[in-house]
Amino acid sequence: MTEPNLPIASIKGVTKSFGATIALQDVDFDCYPGEVHAVLGENGAGKSTLMKTISGVLAPTSGTVFAQGKPVTFKGPADAMAVGFVCMYQELSLVPDLTVRENLLLGAPGSGLGRLKGGALPKARELLDQIDGEHIRFGSKVSDLTLAECQQVEVVKALIRNPKLLILDESTSALNSSVVDKVFDLVRAQRDLGVAILFISHRFHEIEALADRISVFRNGQRVETFRNGDQDYSTIINMMVGQRIDELFPPKVIPKAGAEPVLELRDFAWPPKVKPTSFTIKEGQIIGLGGLDGQGQSTLLQGIFGLLKGTQGTILINGSDAPKSGPLAAKQSDVGLAYIPEDRKADGLIQAQSINENLELAALGRSDLNATDHNIYKPSLDRLELKHGGLDLPVSSLSGGNQQKVVLAKWLALAPKVLLLADPTRGIDVKTKTQIYALLRELAEQGTAILLLSTDYEELIHLCDETHIFYDGGIVRSLRGEDLSAQNIIGASLNIPDVADHKGIADA
């Protein structure tokens, strides 16, 4: 394929930061007419930020977006659509209370706030039928559709806007493979008409089937762009991983011989999101849970802590059955579960209450503890060196890292037997991270079973004794020892068979 000289969309020197976090750093990127350009990268590599910058949802902190060679400033998605940049979003852009027909008309070209024009509807019906959507009626409310049906509508909604650049941000994740094939046929037809396609997917075989060029992103930077087929899997994965040196982690300890299991899961499940899952954590062990976002691992932690109704299977703690009736039962001393939630701002702390009041919340309801006795929190607070301007101040006055210390301290006061942590170091400074790592290792040595969900594979490699990788609701691989490498974690997260000895295409 020859590349015409003028890219439909390009960005030059674009940086996007959210506060102190830099999501995109000095990125140059081009997308030409008639090509499918795939973007690869792990969670947080900056893919979605890139798409949102090009589609006008986010404005770049610095740098310029060009549409057909001309610099443009988008005030919102409407401006991007006006130059033909149309995005199918990962988080759907359908309005739940409106019907399919109304959603297709919403913001359709030429309508604005005036009289709605239904001219595109026959074409929409035709497109919907082509991707197995014959059963989706225009009169149905979107909130009554399944996620897959929503994605089919989303595809059609984008196509009837006559895009010059079509952005697919994981927009086929809920579709089954035969529908995906049909969507891809439509996408290829668009490409052949000269439309540029930007494509994010976590399914390697989809990228292999569809992409002309591939760009790999890591830590907000574009690492490399190459033609599909020029690089093999292991090279691509190495680009995604990069080289990072870390002295953050405490040394691993050799497990004691004859260590007793503390937590044991037997066919624990919450259909359909979590498939039957079994594993054991022995005394002294830190076990990691990895995988892409939303593959069931965070739901599993909530399930173990009793936050979900209708979980199945057995949880054994020191050999006896744990109740699944909720947090109050789970935190009693005979069960001894503690859960550090993913969203500490919303789920872990009550922002308007003082640090002292927040600390007391976990111990309340435990008859064997006096929650108002602050000596029970002091050891962990000292251990973690909580920096505060007074324990009577609202917890919202603390930085993110210090807030997480409060969450940890309030649960550690209960001396839990099993500590469940959902990504406890996300968005936290390096020093606090190191403190938390050391604390976790120390707790493990004292006999606490630690189950650590992490989106940072460095933690999974260097802190955990064994890591289970989730894909589509279940464990696809369990890695330990030599096998516990970044390559293997990413490979398993994408559900590619063992990277070292396969070059075949994985089935999702």
């Binding site: 949802v57 919102g76 998605p77 409407a78 991007a80 659509m81 995005c87 979003y89 988080e91 759907l92 852009s93 359908l94 309005v95 739940p96 209370d97 409106l98 019907t99 109304e102 959603n103 008309l105 919403l106 913001g107 309508s111 604005g112 706030l113 005036g114 009289r115 709605l116 009626r137 009169g139 149905s140 409310k141 909130s143 909604k157 909530q302 936050l307 979900l308 109704k309 209708g310």
Partner: protein, 321 residues
């Protein structure tokens, strides 16, 4: 047809309830079914109906307007000063009254959209401002209104109460065409999912602004019609109408979480509420006990509305199933 019934089941239920109540009312009324009785009934209902429409526009974009009664009081007072003339003067008066309502709504909208303050806070404070203005303009009830236009608007046309004709004009000449515009669709999109509306390229700020302005316009129309019915200006009518407007939209199937419901539903809710109040007037309940019963009915109506919110998909993520 199936989609229609599913989509408008709340309105259909409310309409059935209204029909039953109306029949019951006409049977109980000492003077029986007559144009006179129907006209009185329709006038009372139409006043609340217009305020309920105002409330509907605020609620549908996931807001609430606690100033609709106050706007009504202000426009009523303005009307009592400007609607006594004839011809051009009268037309000018009508325009100023409605424009006053629109300006009040626009002010609310600007504070909500650009001031980024919650609608409940904005309208709670603006309500005091509007009532304060009304009190300055007319400290005690009074004023004079051109009786010709007042009669024309509040009696009947060939046996049909004029109020019902006006309501029909609002539905057919305004609401149904409006629903087929981008703005008409946009208010639902913004109320249902602001992010989705934004990502679809809708001008979210403009739409919310327009919705609050429309709320002001209809509160102004309510004030205008109230002036024709009572032929006086009274700054003290605000609280009652604000509360009843919220009850009316809930009764009419408009969910307070925004994004659903129709103008017609809000109208039906208002008509139900007023009919119940009128029924009570004839039912022999001691007049001192009437607020108690009205309150009970409102509480039940709001509880029913809230139950519907629970049935919707807004459940806690955790503790799912």
């Amino acid at each position: 047809m199936r989609d229609f019934v599913t989509a408008y089941r709340r309105e259909l239920i409310a309409a059935a309830v209204l029909a039953a109540l109306l029949v019951f009312y006409l049977i109980t009324h000492p003077r029986g079914a007559s144009t006179y009785v129907l006209t009185i009934w329709a006038n009372q209902c139409a006043i609340l109906g217009l305020v309920a429409i105002a409330q509907f526009f605020a609620v549908v974009v996931r807001g609430i307007d606690l100033s609709v009664g106050a706007i009504m009081a202000l426009t009523n007072v303005v009307g009592s000063h400007l609607l006594s003339g004839t011809g051009i003067d009268l037309a000018f008066g009508v325009i100023v009254v409605v424009a006053t309502g629109a300006a009040c709504g626009l002010l609310n909208g600007l504070l909500v959209v650009y001031g980024r303050i919650q609608p409940i806070v904005v309208t709670l404070s603006s309500a005091s401002i509007f009532v304060g203005l009304a009190l300055i303009l007319r400290p005690t009830p009074g004023g004079r209104v051109n009786y010709d236009i007042a009669d024309a608007m509040t009696l009947d046309l060939f046996g049909i109460p004029t109020a019902l004709v006006l309501i029909a004009i609002i539905i057919f000449a305004f609401w149904l065409p409006f629903r087929r515009t981008g703005l008409g669709l946009g208010i639902y999109a913004v109320g249902s999912s602001q992010q989705a509306a934004f990502q679809s390229g809708m001008p979210v700020a403009t739409i919310r602004l327009a919705a609050f302005t429309l709320a002001g316009v209809f509160a102004g129309l309510a004030g205008l019609f109230y002036t024709f019915v009572t032929t006086t200006g009274d700054a003290g009518i605000a609280p009652n109408f604000t509360l009843n407007s919220i009850a009316a939209v809930v009764l009419g199937g408009v969910l307070l979480r925004g994004g659903t419901g129709t103008l017609i539903g809000a109208l039906i809710g208002a008509f139900i509420l007023k009919t119940i109040a009128s029924l009570m007037f004839f039912s022999g309940i001691p007049s001192l006990a009437q607020p108690l019963f009205e309150g009970l009915i409102l509480a039940v109506a709001i509880a029913v509305g809230a139950a519907d919110v629970l049935r919707s998909k807004h459940r806690l993520e955790v503790f799912g199933r």
